[in-house]
C-alpha cells in the first residue's frame, strides 16, 4: 500500500528546482539501483554504468529547470540516462575503429605496448563471465542499441510499453516491434545455452 505521506517524485522535483539538496538526495536514493541496473544491462560494464548513472543524476540537478510542470519524473530521468548510455556506446564504437591488431611504433621503430582498458570486462564482469548471468549479459550487449534499450526496459526492468515509448520518444508500435525483434535475436543468441540447459 503506498504511503500517502511519501512525496511523489514530481513533488521532489519541484523542490529540486529550488535547489533543495535533501529532495534531490531522496530521488537519488529511490532511483540509484534502478538506473544503474538499466545502464549496466545496456552498456554491459559496471564501472561505466555507475559513471553514466552519476552523470544522469547530476543532469537531473543541473537541468531541473527544464523539467516541465505536470510531466512525470521517471520517463524524463530514464530518457536522460538512456541518451547518455547510447551516446557513450556510439562514442566507444567510433573509437574502436582504431586497429588493435597493428602494433604501434615510435619514429625509431620501437614497438609501443598498448595499455587498453577493457571496459566490458571489469572485475565484476570477469567473475560473472563464468556464470550464466555473464552469457545473458553478453547476449543483451550484442543486440543493436535501439533494440537493446527497449528490451532491457521491457523484459529486464518491466516498464510498460507506454512508458518505454515516452522514454525513447518513438511511437508505441515501434517499441513493441523493437522488443519483439530483440526477443527473437536474444533467443537465437542464447540457443546454445538453452539447449545445454534443456
Amino acid at each position: 500500500m503506498p504511503d500517502s505521506k511519501r512525496p511523489t517524485d514530481e513533488m521532489l522535483m519541484a523542490l529540486v528546482k529550488q535547489g533543495d539538496h535533501a529532495a534531490f538526495q531522496e530521488l537519488v536514493s529511490r532511483y540509484k539501483s534502478r538506473i544503474i541496473g538499466f545502464v549496466y544491462r545496456t552498456v554491459n560494464s559496471r564501472e561505466l554504468a555507475e559513471d553514466i548513472a552519476q552523470e544522469a543524476f547530476l543532469r537531473v540537478f543541473t537541468k531541473a529547470h527544464t523539467f516541465r510542470d505536470g510531466a512525470r519524473f521517471s520517463p524524463w530521468f530514464y530518457r536522460i540516462a538512456s541518451n547518455l548510455a547510447i551516446n557513450e556506446l556510439r562514442r566507444r564504437r567510433r573509437v574502436s575503429f582504431i586497429s588493435l591488431e597493428r602494433p604501434l611504433r615510435t619514429s625509431s621503430g620501437d614497438e609501443l605496448v598498448r595499455d587498453v582498458e577493457d571496459n566490458a570486462r571489469g572485475p565484476a564482469e570477469l567473475a560473472e563471465q563464468h556464470e550464466l548471468g555473464g552469457e545473458i549479459a553478453k547476449a543483451i550487449a550484442d543486440l543493436p542499441i535501439k533494440y537493446r534499450v527497449a528490451f532491457v526496459l521491457r523484459d529486464v526492468q518491466g516498464h510498460s510499453y507506454e512508458r518505454i515509448a515516452e522514454i525513447v520518444g518513438v511511437p508505441l508500435g515501434t517499441i513493441k516491434s523493437r522488443v519483439n525483434r530483440a526477443r527473437s535475436r536474444f533467443k537465437d543468441l542464447m540457443q546454445p545455452y538453452v539447449e545445454a540447459l534443456g
Binding site: 528546482k17 529550488q18 535547489g19 539538496h21 534531490f24 538526495q25 537519488v28 536514493s29 540509484k32 539501483s33 544503474i36 541496473g37 549496466y40 544491462r41 555507475e50 548513472a53 552519476q54 543524476f57 547530476l58 540537478f61 543541473t62 531541473a64 529547470h65 550464466l132 548471468g133 545473458i136 549479459a137 521491457r154 523484459d155 529486464v156 518491466g158 510498460s160 513493441k176 522488443v179 519483439n180 525483434r181 526477443r183 527473437s184 536474444f186 533467443k187 542464447m190 540457443q191 545455452y193 538453452v194 540447459l197 534443456g198
Partner: protein, 232 residues
C-alpha cells in the same frame, strides 16, 4: 492442423512471452504449435530464453554511490546553487519588469555610446586640430576688440545681423565663422565674451551674438539682460 500458416504465427511467438501478452494471441499460437513441431520448438526456445532473464541478479548501487553523487552536486554547482537558482535570484534582486528593463537597456545604450565615442568630440577641438594640422595661423581678434573687453562698449544693432551669417558652432564652420566675425566686428564694433563672466558680475557687459534660431522673445531677453531665457 491449425488453419494459420507458420509464417503468420512466427512473428507472434515473441509476443506470447510478454508479461502482458494478449490471451487471444497466446491461445492462437499454442493451438498452432500443438500441431506444428517447428513452431512448437520455436515457442519453447523463446520461452526458455526469456525465462533465463529471471536468473539475472538484481543490480544494487554501491554503498557510497549516493554520497558520491551528493559530493559532486555540492562541488559542481557554485557551492550548492544551480545556474538556474543564480539567475532566478539575480532576476529577483533586480525585480525586472518591462519598463525597468527598457530603462536599463536605454541607460546601457547611452553609456555604451558615450564610452565608445571618439575622444575628439568638440567641434572647436576639431577645428583647432585641423588648423594645427594645416599649419595655418590661428585667427587673432583685432586689437580694438581686445581693448573693448576691458571697458564699456557700444553694442551694435544685433538684430540687424542677417540670420544666415549667425555664428555657428557646427564642426567645419568655425574658421569661416571667425573670418566673418572679424569683418563684422570691424564694422560694428562688437565685442565677444571671449572670457567667462566672473561670478560676481563685475565684468563689463559684453555684447552677445544672438543665434539666428532664437525667437523674438529670446532675442529681447538676451539684449535686455545679457542672458538667455533658456539654456542652450
Amino acid at each position: 492442423m491449425s488453419r494459420m500458416r507458420c509464417n503468420a504465427v512466427r512473428p507472434l511467438i515473441a509476443e506470447t512471452v510478454d508479461a502482458d501478452a494478449d490471451e487471444r494471441v497466446v491461445r492462437l499460437v499454442e493451438l498452432h504449435a500443438e500441431e506444428c513441431v517447428k513452431c512448437r520448438s520455436e515457442l519453447d526456445r523463446m520461452r526458455a530464453a526469456i525465462g533465463l532473464l529471471e536468473s539475472l541478479e538484481p543490480v544494487e548501487a554501491p554503498a557510497d554511490f549516493e554520497a558520491r553523487v551528493m559530493a559532486r552536486v555540492r562541488t559542481d554547482n557554485l557551492g550548492g546553487w544551480t545556474w538556474r537558482e543564480v539567475s532566478d535570484r539575480v532576476a529577483e534582486a533586480l525585480a525586472l519588469r518591462p519598463l525597468r528593463t527598457a530603462a536599463l537597456v536605454a541607460t546601457c545604450a547611452v553609456l555604451g555610446v558615450a564610452l565608445l565615442r571618439p575622444v575628439e568630440t568638440s567641434p572647436f577641438t576639431g577645428a583647432a586640430s585641423r588648423i594645427a594640422q594645416r599649419d595655418e595661423p590661428i585667427p587673432v581678434l583685432p586689437s580694438e576688440v581686445i581693448a573693448s573687453i576691458a571697458g564699456p562698449v557700444e553694442v551694435g544693432d544685433l538684430a540687424a545681423v542677417p540670420e544666415d551669417s549667425a555664428l555657428t558652432a557646427e564642426d567645419g564652420h568655425l574658421e569661416s565663422a571667425f573670418g566673418e566675425l572679424e569683418a563684422r566686428l570691424a564694422a560694428e564694433t562688437v565685442s565677444l565674451p571671449l572670457v567667462p563672466e566672473p561670478l560676481g558680475g563685475a565684468a563689463p557687459p559684453a555684447a552677445r551674438i544672438v543665434p539666428a534660431a532664437l525667437d523674438a522673445r529670446d532675442r529681447a531677453a538676451i539684449l535686455e539682460t545679457g542672458r538667455s531665457r533658456r539654456s542652450f
